[in-house]
């Protein structure tokens, strides 16, 4: 791909900066941003509080008054970014892992599957095969702790968001809209089309690694039966 270069840096207030690489979602840029974020994070700079990769750029949250900041924290952050870009980003394959997510597509967990299938002019079984047969990639974690935005949805299944969001979507619900998929970590309100549910905890603060997903992960869905789903939950 073309050399990655920041479009600009926008102060996110006085304690963070957003370094933007594209104004639209570009999968190559997104992948590069995630690898860049890991590199910046790995530097473990004492004045950096958080490195947050987003869809088209990354945020560096810092302590602007930390004694180790050379000059001002905003410029220092940009210097770190250019240093990393100069050193060269790690290759994508070295950086990403694959997460296998068991999913039950039974009707009780998939209230919108029939509607999605009808819109795509396929049977629900075919819709399941299209979803489970694709490899997804986590573009960003956001909206709620552990909540992944994933690319890779088969274009045949591209349906818009629901006109009226549901007040409560059960935790673990796997939902699709447009060309993306999400997994809801908690019972929260949401407007995406629910086509299945995973028994795995998407975010568990008491786990060593609280978040099931990380930005950049490859994700595969593995269909399981209702019985297997219920067994998982125990």
């Amino acid at each position: 791909m073309a050399k990655l270069a920041p479009l600009g840096a926008v102060p996110l207030g006085d304690c963070a900066v957003y370094v933007e690489f594209s104004r639209a979602l570009d999968l190559e840029v997104n992948s590069a941003v995630q690898r860049l974020a890991r590199m910046v994070h790995a530097k473990a700079l004492p004045w950096v509080r958080d490195v947050v990769p987003a869809l088209a750029g990354l945020a560096i949250h810092f302590d602007p008054d930390h004694p180790d900041v050379f000059g001002d924290a905003l410029s220092a952050s940009l210097n770190v970014v250019s240093e990393c870009l100069k050193e060269g980003l790690p290759k994508e394959d070295d950086a990403s892992r694959t997460v296998e997510v068991p999913i039950c597509y039974e009707r009780e967990f998939a209230p919108d599957l029939a509607e999605v299938a009808a819109a795509a002019k396929v049977t629900p079984e075919e819709a399941v095969a299209l979803h489970a047969g694709s490899e997804f990639r986590v573009l960003m974690i956001g909206f709620a702790p552990g909540h992944p935005y994933m690319a890779g949805l088969n274009p045949k299944l591209a349906v818009p968001r629901r006109a009226t969001p549901r007040a409560v979507v059960p935790a673990g619900s796997v939902a699709i809209a447009n060309d993306q998929a999400v997994v809801y970590p908690y019972a929260i309100s949401g407007g995406w089309n629910i086509i299945g549910r995973t028994p795995l905890a998407v975010f568990d603060a008491h786990r060593d690694e609280p978040s099931l997903f990380g930005a950049g992960d490859r994700v595969r869905f593995k269909p399981i039966s209702r019985a297997e789903f219920l067994k998982h939950g125990k």
Binding site: E20, S22, A54, A144, A205
Partner: protein, 326 residues
């Protein structure tokens, strides 16, 4: 050793200075909405600055103490049966009633040794959206028993003993809280956000000219600001980007939202402004119905504001340390 919740008040949670380093997996730091008040409250009872305390919102609780406990209630001007902004030794078996906030929205009740709930991801803060931290990740309710450190009674007596200039079960001095407003609207300094230029000149003026009212559905995640509808000139959807404590975003309904302690880490709404970090604790002291006004500010001024807060806080801390004979 516990504090027994007889009546929980409006919204009482356990909070400390939050859990940092998890924003890349979508978890914001959270913690006290007014960390300045929390830090002062902890100092007044001789704690480390980040010890867990009770965050009390608008309408306070009735609490029962089973042992002598050194406490300090700092922040909003609550009507209470202890004096505010100073250490008070509450006698074992007695009851503490905290009523309404006459001025400000939040106060922190710190106790010697801190509230001894378990740490989750390095913090004792209650994170309500995720239902973890504090007590079962929820708002405190009647009948809860809040654990204190084992030697809290001994700590309380020793620390109270060390204090100079005592009067009865308290002291003859107090620390002025400087996050609680004397009058409204308060002025919040705001830096232009990434999408500020996508609002036309009239909208930009409107943003800075309006006296915004904090709506009743404002909470620890965000404050919604009622006023004229803000519309962005460009109508295209923006790519979701990172957000920050104090980000002011404008959803499609035109009602701006200022992101507070339990905010989302990313958002797909245009970000019109970013509130200077030094001013966010002051916004946390505005109750629903209260009003705010934005003043344009740059990074240099934001740094000056931080420096000013830091100086005032350090002065207060030095004063408290002196009273403890340090």
């Amino acid at each position: 050793m516990t504090i027994h919740v007889l009546r929980p008040g409006l919204l009482m949670t356990v909070q400390d200075l939050g859990r940092h380093g998890h924003q890349h997996v979508g978890l914001c730091p959270g913690g006290a909405m007014d960390p300045i008040a929390l830090v002062i409250a902890n100092a007044l009872v001789g704690n480390e600055q980040g010890a867990a305390a009770l965050e009390i919102t608008v309408l306070g609780p009735d609490l029962q103490f089973d042992r002598d406990t050194l406490v300090a209630l700092v922040g909003a001007d609550f009507e209470a049966d202890i004096a505010l902004n100073r250490p008070v030794l509450v006698a074992g078996g007695s009851r503490l009633s905290i009523s309404r906030a006459a001025r400000g929205a939040r106060a922190y009740l710190a106790v010697a040794g801190g509230i001894a709930v378990a740490e989750v991801l390095g913090s004792r803060s209650t994170y309500l959206p995720g239902s973890f931290g504090g007590i079962e990740g929820r708002v405190l309710k009647r009948g809860d028993r809040l654990p204190l450190v084992e030697n809290s009674e001994q700590l309380s007596r020793e620390r109270f003993e060390r204090l100079k200039r005592k009067r009865g079960s308290s002291v003859r001095w107090s620390v002025p809280s400087f996050t609680v407003p004397d009058r409204e609207p308060i002025v919040l300094h705001a830096i232009e956000g990434e999408h500020f230029s996508e609002f036309d000149a009239t909208m930009q003026r409107t943003f800075f000219d309006t006296i915004w009212r904090v709506t009743p559905d404002s909470n620890r995640m965000g404050y919604r600001l009622a006023g004229p509808e803000l519309t962005r000139a460009k109508k295209d959807e923006i790519v979701s980007g990172p957000t920050c404590l104090g980000t002011v975003q404008v959803p499609a309904d035109g009602v701006p939202i200022a992101l507070m302690a339990d905010h989302q880490t990313t958002g797909g709404y245009p970000r019109i402004a970013e509130i200077a970090s030094a001013d966010v604790p002051r916004l946390a002291q505005i109750a629903p119905g209260g009003s705010v006004h934005f003043a344009r500010c740059g990074l240099d001024m934001a740094a000056e504001l931080r420096k000013d807060v830091k100086t005032r806080l350090e002065t207060a801390m030095r004063g408290i340390a002196w009273e403890y004979g340090k």
